[in-house]
Amino acid sequence: MATFLVGALVAAAFFFAVRHVYRNFRDGKEDCCGNCSGCHGCSAKR
C-alpha cells in the first residue's frame, strides 16, 4: 500500500517534471534567470 502510494507520487512528479521540460523545449523557453531586462548595461543600442 505504502509502496503504491509513494510510487504513484513519484510517478506523478516525474510526469510533471518531464512535461515541464518538454514544454520548455517545445516553446523554446528556458528556466535560467530570465533575460537581461534588468541589466542597465546593455542599453546603448542601435
Partner: protein, 631 residues
C-alpha cells in the same frame, strides 16, 4: 471604474525600473513581448479604490524602431489605448533625455513628464523650473526623487487626478512638429532626412533648456570624482579585479558557503536519514526507498545545496549592476577586449554568463556589430555559469579544502582566459574583416535600490530552483534507474547501463587521470544540464548514505568526504576534471539558444565540437604538466 492603464517609458539609467518596482512591489507579471525575447513587465496596484495597471516599457534613447526594444516601445504606445504615458526623465541628464520626449510628442503621444532624481540634479546645481517646463512643452510635469514612499504616493495621486486630454503641446512644440513633417516630405535621401530631424529635435531641446533649466552653477558630480579612480587609466584595472575578488570572497567564504554548509548538513544527512526511516517504517519496498533517497534526494539535494551560493552571487551581480559600475567595467576593459577580438560592451553579457549562459548569449544582441555578436555567443559558454559553480565548489572543497575560494576563483579566471583566447582565434579566422564599434553611456553612480536588487536576484535565482524541481528531478530518476538496472533487470551498480555508458565515455580520459566510469557518466549527463554532474556524483557515490558520525568532517561537501569519490581522484586529477567540466560542450539549453541567436544548426555543431576538443586538450595539458612537475 475601469482599470487605469499606465505605461512607463524613458531612457536607460533613469531609475524607471526602480519607480516601477516601488509602485507595484511584487505584484508583477513578467512575460515576453510577442515574437521577441525581451521581458514584458506588467504590474498592478490599487489607489483610492482605483485599480491601476502599469507596463514598464524597455528603456531606449530614441524610437527609430531599429532595435527590437525601440520597436516594442513605439508599437505599444501607438496601438494601445492608454490613460497615461509617463516619460521618466533623469533630471541631471534632462537635455539628452528630452530627445525621446520630443520624438514621442512628434508621434502625437501625450506625456506625463516625470523629473526623476530631482535631488541628484539639485545637488549638482541643475535647477529646473517645473512651471516653465510645463509651459515650454505644454505637458504636465511631476518631480520625484527615486526611491521614497512619498514620491510613490505623489505619483499615484498624479496618476488618478491627471486628465491627459486637457493638455495640448505648446506653440513651439507644434511648430517643431510641423517642421518635422516638412522635413519628412522633402525629396532627400533617408539618412539626410534622419540627420536633419535629429538636429531639429536638439534645436527645440536647446530652446526648452534655455527657458526652463538653469545650469549656470553646475558643479563636478560625485560620479566624476569617483571615475578619476574607478575608470581612469591603469589604476582602474586592479580596482576592478579587487572588486571581482571581493564578490567571490562574499560568495564562497563569507556568506554563501557557510549557509550552503548548513543546508548540506540538513538535506544530505538529517533529511535523508529521516526519509529512509520514515519510508522503511511505512513499509515501502526497498527499491522505492532507494529511488527516493539515493536517487531523488541525493540528486536534487546535491544541486539544492548550492542554492545559497547562486543567490548570493546573483545578489552581488545585481547590486553591482545597480550602482552603474558595470558600464565602467565595459569602458576599462574595452582596450583589452578589443585586442582579443571582442568589445568592452561584451563584458556585460559575459558577466551575465557567470549566472547562466542562456541570457548571456541572448544579451549579446546588445552588441553593435555582427562580428562582436557571433564571437560573444560562441565564447560565452566557456564561463563558469551558476550550474557549473556547484562542480567547482564541490571539488575545490573536497580536494583543496584550505584554498577552496582561491581554486574556484582560479577556475573562473581560467574560463575567462579561455573565452578571450577563443575570441581572439575566432576573430582572426572565422570572422575576419568585420568592423566593430563601441558607444556607451556612463551613467552616474547610484546607491542601488534594494527592492530592485532583491527582485532581480529572485527573478534570476528562481530559475535555478525550478530546474532543480524539474529537469534535475527527472534526470535523477533516470540516472537512478540507469545506475541500478541493465537490460536484463536489477543489477549491481558496476554492471548497470550507466556504468556501461560511463566507461565508454571514460575511454576518452585515459590520459587525464579520471578515466573512471563514474566521471564519464557524470560528464555525459552534464550535457543535459551542468547541475547533473554534481547530481550524478551524489547518486553514484551515494553521498546521501553517509551517516551522521562524520560531524567533524562536515565542512563543505562533508557528505561526499567518506565516499568513494575522495579516493577516485587525486588533487591533480580533480583539477583536470574541473578544467574539463569548465570548458566542455555547453548544456542543451545553451545549445538551443545558440541555434536561435546565431541562426542555424551549423553553429550548434560547431560550438559543441570545438568546445569539447578545447576542453579535452587543456585538461590533458593540466594533468600531464602537473605530473611532470611532480604533483
Amino acid at each position: 471604474m475601469a482599470t487605469l492603464a499606465v505605461a512607463l517609458t524613458g531612457n536607460p539609467n533613469t531609475g524607471k525600473s526602480t519607480i516601477f518596482n516601488e509602485l507595484t512591489g511584487a505584484r508583477q507579471k513578467i512575460g515576453n513581448w510577442p515574437g521577441v525575447t525581451v521581458d514584458k513587465k506588467v504590474g498592478y496596484t490599487r489607489y483610492k479604490d482605483r485599480a491601476i495597471s502599469i507596463v514598464d516599457l524597455p528603456g531606449t534613447y530614441s524610437v527609430n524602431a531599429r532595435s527590437p526594444e525601440e520597436k516594442i516601445v513605439i508599437d505599444y504606445l501607438m496601438n494601445n489605448k492608454l490613460d497615461l504615458v509617463m516619460d521618466v526623465v533623469d533630471s541631471s541628464n534632462i537635455e539628452r533625455n528630452l530627445f525621446l520626449t520630443v520624438q514621442l510628442l512628434e508621434q502625437g503621444i501625450p506625456l506625463l513628464i516625470d523629473l526623476n532624481m530631482q535631488d541628484d540634479a539639485e545637488r549638482r546645481g541643475i535647477r529646473i523650473d517645473v512651471k516653465k517646463l510645463e509651459e515650454a512643452i505644454g505637458m504636465p510635469v511631476v518631480e520625484t526623487v527615486g526611491r521614497s514612499s512619498k514620491s510613490t504616493r505623489k505619483l499615484l495621486d498624479v496618476f488618478t487626478d491627471t486628465v491627459m486630454s486637457q493638455y495640448h503641446v505648446s506653440a513651439q512644440v507644434q511648430e517643431h512638429i510641423d517642421r518635422v513633417q516638412a522635413i519628412r516630405a522633402k525629396d532627400i535621401p533617408d539618412s539626410s532626412k534622419e540627420e536633419a530631424l535629429i538636429e531639429a529635435r536638439y534645436e527645440l531641446i536647446d530652446k526648452i533648456m534655455a527657458q526652463a533649466v538653469n545650469t549656470e552653477h553646475v558643479s563636478q558630480s560625485v560620479s566624476e570624482k569617483l571615475d578619476r579612480y574607478l575608470a581612469n587609466g591603469f589604476l582602474a584595472l586592479p580596482i576592478f579585479l579587487a572588486i571581482l575578488y571581493a564578490v567571490f570572497q562574499i560568495t564562497f567564504t563569507w556568506i554563501g558557503q557557510p549557509i550552503a554548509d548548513v543546508l548540506d548538513d540538513v538535506i544530505n544527512t538529517d533529511f535523508v536519514a529521516f526519509m529512509t526511516d520514515f519510508l522503511t517504517d511505512a513499509g515501502v519496498a526497498d527499491w522505492l526507498v532507494s529511488l527516493v533517497c539515493d536517487g531523488i534526494i541525493a540528486g536534487v539535494g546535491a544541486v539544492l545545496t548550492f542554492v545559497p551560493l547562486i543567490f548570493v552571487l546573483f545578489f552581488c551581480l545585481s547590486f553591482l549592476d545597480g550602482t552603474g559600475y558595470m558600464a565602467r567595467i565595459a569602458f576599462i576593459m574595452d582596450p583589452i577586449m578589443r585586442r582579443c577580438g571582442l568589445t568592452g560592451k561584451g563584458v556585460m553579457p559575459l558577466m551575465m554568463g557567470f549566472g547562466c549562459g542562456v541570457p548571456a548569449i541572448m544579451g549579446a544582441r546588445a552588441l553593435d556589430s555582427e562580428k562582436d555578436r557571433m564571437v560573444s555567443i560562441l565564447v560565452t559558454p566557456f564561463l563558469t555559469c551558476g550550474a557549473k559553480l556547484p562542480i567547482m565548489a564541490l571539488f575545490a572543497a573536497m580536494f583543496f579544502p584550505d584554498q577552496a575560494a582561491n581554486v574556484v576563483f582560479a577556475m573562473y579566471i581560467a574560463g575567462v582566459v579561455m573565452a578571450i583566447v577563443a575570441a581572439k582565434c575566432l576573430g582572426a579566422t572565422v570572422f575576419r574583416d568585420k568592423g566593430s564599434t563601441f558607444l556607451l553611456e556612463l551613467p552616474p553612480y547610484r546607491l542601488p535600490d534594494m527592492k530592485t536588487v532583491l527582485l532581480e536576484t529572485w527573478d534570476k535565482g528562481k530559475g535555478y530552483l525550478v530546474k532543480a524541481g524539474t529537469i534535475i528531478f527527472a534526470a535523477s530518476v533516470l540516472l537512478w534507474v540507469m545506475s541500478n538496472y541493465n537490460f536484463s533487470g536489477p543489477c549491481e551498480i558496476e554492471d548497470s547501463i550507466l556504468a556501461m555508458l560511463g566507461s565508454w565515455m571514460s575511454q576518452l580520459f585515459v590520459f587525464h587521470g579520471f578515466a573512471t566510469w563514474e566521471a564519464g557518466a557524470a560528464l555525459l549527463s552534464g550535457i543535459m544540464a551542468k547541475e547533473t554532474v554534481v547530481a550524478t556524483m551524489g547518486i553514484l557515490y551515494g553521498a546521501a548514505d553517509v551517516s551522521t558520525e562524520a560531524e567533524d568532517a562536515i565542512e563543505t561537501a562533508g557528505a561526499f568526504m567518506n565516499t568513494g569519490m575522495a579516493t577516485s581522484f587525486t588533487a591533480l586529477s580533480a583539477l583536470a576534471f574541473m578544467v574539463f567540466s569548465q570548458l566542455y560542450t555547453p548544456c542543451v539549453t545553451a545549445l538551443g539558444t545558440i541555434k536561435k541567436e546565431a541562426g542555424g544548426w551549423k553553429w550548434v555543431a560547431f560550438s559543441a565540437v570545438y568546445m569539447f576538443v578545447t576542453a579535452w586538450l587543456i585538461s590533458l595539458l593540466v594533468y600531464q604538466i602537473g605530473r611532470l612537475l611532480g604533483f
